[in-house]
Symmetry: C2
């Protein structure tokens, strides 16, 4: 058989990628999600770690729409909002 | 006495401003906070309205840092994070 190259993010070692660019995107998304989650938990102490993580992942997954919203294009947020995918 | 012009945002009628531009900024911040809060509540159903509102206000107050974070400049978030001011 042959040795194959597989890529994964250290944030999420179970998830393997054949394509490096895709692994990079996943890694960046999780890094952003983590930074957002910790900022939210510092600011809203009543948030559980789980809630902060879910919110962080959700925003990181929809980063383009949130970036637009922060430029006061609030309609961008209307498109997002189904419960955070668990995959 | 004289009649004075005072400005306020319909989002926060108790808060009065002598300066229209300041009232506009406050109004925009609260509008963004509200849009963020509803997006978060749709995505993280376990969030209470109060938690979503606090998170929304916090992010809207620090919109510049969050806008940078969404461009993957995560250090921008390190500066923010004290519990949401209640004023």
């Amino acid at each position: 058989m042959a040795v194959e190259v597989v890529y994964r993010s250290s944030w999420d070692p179970e998830r393997l990628f054949m394509d490096k660019a895709e692994a990079d995107r996943h890694d960046k998304m999780l890094e952003l999600a983590d930074a957002l989650a910790s900022a939210l938990q510092r600011a809203v102490p009543s948030l559980s770690e789980q809630q902060a993580e879910e919110a962080g992942i959700f925003m990181a997954r929809h980063r383009d729409q949130f970036a637009k919203a922060f430029k006061q294009n609030l309609e961008a947020l209307a498109e997002v909002g189904e419960p955070a995918e668990t995959d």
